[in-house]
Amino acid sequence: MIQRVVLHNFKAFQYAEIGLEKLNLFTGMNGMGKSSFIQSLLLLRQSVLFGGASMLRNGVLLKGQYIEIGNGKDAQNINADSDNIGFEIDFEDGTSLSLEYSFSAESDFLGCHNVRFKEEEILKQVLFTHGNFQYLSAERKSPSNTFSSSSSQISLYHSLGKFGEFTAHYIAIYQRQPLHLAELIINEAPNTLLDQIDAWYSRITPNTHLKATYFPELDLAKLTFSFGTGTDATPEFTPINVGFGFTYVLPVITAVLAAKKGDLIIIENPESHLHPQGQAQLGELFAKAAQAGVQLIIETHSDHLLNGVRVAVKKQQIIPENVSVFYFERSNESTEHITEIIQPQIDKNGRLSQQPKGFFDEYAKQLDQLLQ
C-alpha cells in the first residue's frame, strides 16, 4: 500500500505531502491539483513499465501509456523553488522511493538528478507490477455496439484498459469466476463476477441483467442489457439503447468486484453519468473494497459518493481510520497560486470534522437561496 506521497515543484504544487489510507477521496474545484497526485503515480508507473525499475535512474517519461503531461514546462510548478522536480513515495512495508529529476522545458523526458531506491524492493510494489493495478481515467469508453478486445491486457495484466475499453472482453472471459473479496458479495445472488455485477447494478436499476460475449473470430466483444425477470423480462438491448451511465460505470464496478486484497485502483470521476442513488452505491462499494484490503484513490466531485462512504462508516462497513478525504483549495489571500490541501475527517458517526467553504456545500447554498 502507498502510505505517503510527496511532490516537489510538480504541476500545481511547489511542495505537497499527503498520507494515504485504504480509501482516498480527492475532492475540490477544477484546476486545483487533484490530478497532479494521480499523474505523479502514473508517470512513475509508465516509466517503470517502459524501461524497468532502472529506468527511474535515467529519468521519467512525461508521455506514455497512461498519461501525456507534455513537456517539462508543463510538469514544472510555476513557483518552483529550484530546477528539480521531485517525488517521494513511502510504502506500507517500509520501502521508499526518493526521486529528483532535472527540469528540461522542451523535453518530454526529465533526466535524473538524484534518486534513492532499491530496485528489487520497489518492483514488489503493486504500483509497478502487472495484475494488481487498475487505472480508469475520467474519459471512458462510451456506449457502443462492439468493444475492443485484448487477450494480453485481460489475461496477462488483468487490466480493463485506461478507458475501460476491455471491460466487455474481461467480463465475457471471467464471468463465472467467484469474487476474491467476500465483503463485496451480495448474498441474494450467486458468487460469480457476472451475477455480482448484476446484483450491484440492480441496486441502481432493479433487475438489470448484463450479457457479455467475446467473438474470437471477429476479435471483439459485445454487451447487452436486459431488465426484469422471467416472462416479464425485456429483450436484450445494446448499450446504445439503454442509459449512457450503464456502460460508463461498468468498468468501475468491474474493476472493484474483480479486485484482490492488496490491489491498487485509481479512478477519476467514477460518478460520471450516473444518477445520485447510483453514486451513493459506489461510495458503499468503494468503502467495502477498501475495508477488504484494496487501496483506492478516487477523484470525485460527487457529494452523493462522499455521503455513501460516510453512511458506510456509520454502518461499520469500513472503519473511519481507513478513509482519507482531501479537499484541494486555492487560497484567495495569496498572490501566488498556492493550492492548500485540507483533510476533513469522518468520525465513527459518519460526521465531518470540518466543512471548508466550497467543500460540497453547494446544495445548502442553493437551498438557502430558495428558502430566503
Binding site: 505531502e17 489510507e21 481510520e321 458517526n349 465531518l352 446544495y363 438557502d368 428558502l371 430566503q372
Partner: protein, 321 residues
C-alpha cells in the same frame, strides 16, 4: 465559528402546528446565523444519535416531521444539512474546553435546577448557544448558568455566569454588536501580532505562513492566551544557548505544556505540519502548544538554537489509532 445547541430545549409540545412552528423558526435562525459567520450548529451525542425518535408532541416525532407532506421540502432538507454534518459532542467537551480540571453547569428551568451540557460548552467556547423556542426561558438573548468547578488549588467553587443565547433571528441583531466587536478585536490582534512580532517576540521567528494563518483565525477568544504563551516561549528561546532543545525540562520549568505527536498522526498528517523556514528549508513542526480552540506549532533548530513558529490556528488533524 460554531453555535452550540441547548439539549434542554427539546421538550414535548402541545400540538403539531406548534411543533412545526418551532422547527421552522429553528431552521430560519440557523440559516441567518450562518450568514453572519456561525457556520455550524453542534449538537450533543444524546440528541444527534437519536434524532429521528425525538418526540415533538406525544405522537409526532422528528421522523414524522421529516416525512410530513405539509412541511416545505426545502425546509426539511435544510434541517437535514444542519443536523447531519457536524461532529457530535458529549460531556467530555466540558473538560476539553475548560481551563479548569472540571466544570459542570446547571440551569434553572421552571424552578428546577437541571444539568446542561450544550449551554456550558457554549459558555466555555465564548460563543452563542442556540435553542428551540419551547419555553419562555429559551426566548432570551442571555441565559444565566450555575457553574461548579475545581480551581487551581483543587477547591470546589461555584459561581453564576451568563451564556449568550439565540433562538430567533431578531436575537442575531441583538448580538451583532458583540459579534462585530469580537471580529474587529481579533483582526486587530492578528494584524498587531504580525506587525509587531519582532518587538513582541525578539527571540523566536514567526515563519511566513503565519501571517496568512492568523488572518484566517476569525474570532477566537483565545488569541490573548496564544500571545501570552508565545511570550513564554520567547523567554525560553532567549535562555537557550547550548545543548539540544529539551522538551521535558521546559515542561517542568514553565506552564507551556508542550506536546509532540503520536507516530500514527505523523504517518498520516505530517504534511500538515511541515512549514517553510525563512531560509527556504521545510521542517516538521511537531511540537505544539494548545490554548482552547487554537494551537501553535514550532520547530526548534538545534544547530542555530532558534525556535521557529510555523503555524498558528485551529488544531490540526490527529489520528486516533
Amino acid at each position: 465559528m460554531d453555535c452550540i445547541f441547548n439539549e434542554l430545549s427539546i421538550v414535548q409540545l402541545p400540538n403539531i402546528p406548534v411543533a412545526q412552528d418551532v422547527l421552522n423558526s429553528f431552521v430560519k435562525t440557523a440559516m441567518d446565523a450562518k450568514r453572519v459567520g456561525f457556520e455550524r450548529i453542534r449538537i450533543t451525542e444524546s440528541v444527534g444519535q437519536n434524532l429521528y425518535n425525538l418526540a415533538l408532541t406525544d405522537r409526532y416525532f422528528v421522523s414524522h416531521w421529516l416525512e410530513d407532506p405539509t412541511v416545505d421540502t426545502e425546509l426539511k432538507n435544510r434541517f437535514r444539512l444542519i443536523v447531519a454534518n457536524p461532529p457530535l459532542f458529549n460531556k467530555d467537551e466540558l473538560f476539553q474546553e475548560s481551563e479548569f480540571k472540571y466544570s459542570e453547569f446547571k440551569v434553572d428551568v421552571d424552578g428546577l435546577m437541571k444539568d446542561v451540557i450544550g449551554l456550558g460548552v457554549a459558555y466555555l467556547m465564548d460563543t452563542l448557544s442556540v435553542s428551540l423556542r419551547t419555553n419562555n426561558k429559551w426566548c432570551e438573548t442571555a441565559i444565566s448558568l450555575q457553574r461548579s468547578y475545581f480551581d487551581s488549588d483543587e477547591n470546589l467553587c461555584e459561581d453564576l455566569v451568563n451564556v449568550l443565547h439565540l433562538s430567533d433571528t431578531t436575537h442575531l441583531e441583538y448580538h451583532s454588536a458583540w459579534l462585530e466587536q469580537k471580529r474587529r478585536s481579533s483582526l486587530q490582534k492578528s494584524a498587531d501580532l504580525w506587525k509587531k512580532r519582532e518587538e513582541f517576540f525578539p527571540n523566536i521567528v514567526l515563519c511566513g505562513d503565519v501571517q496568512r494563518q492568523i488572518t484566517r483565525i476569525g474570532f477566537s477568544s483565545h488569541f490573548d492566551q496564544i500571545i501570552s504563551r508565545l511570550r513564554t516561549l520567547d523567554h525560553v528561546a532567549s535562555q537557550w544557548k547550548e545543548g539540544n532543545f529539551n522538551l521535558d525540562s521546559i515542561n517542568q520549568k514553565t506552564n507551556l505544556r508542550i506536546s509532540g505527536e503520536s507516530k500514527s498522526t505523523l504517518r498520516k498528517f505530517s504534511g500538515e505540519r511541515k512549514f517553510k523556514l525563512p531560509d527556504g528549508r521545510r521542517e516538521l513542526h511537531e511540537f505544539h502548544i494548545k490554548t482552547g480552540d487554537l494551537r501553535f506549532h514550532f520547530f526548534p533548530d538545534n544547530e542555530s538554537k532558534t525556535i521557529y513558529v510555523g503555524y498558528i490556528g485551529p488544531h490540526l488533524n490527529t489520528s486516533s489509532e
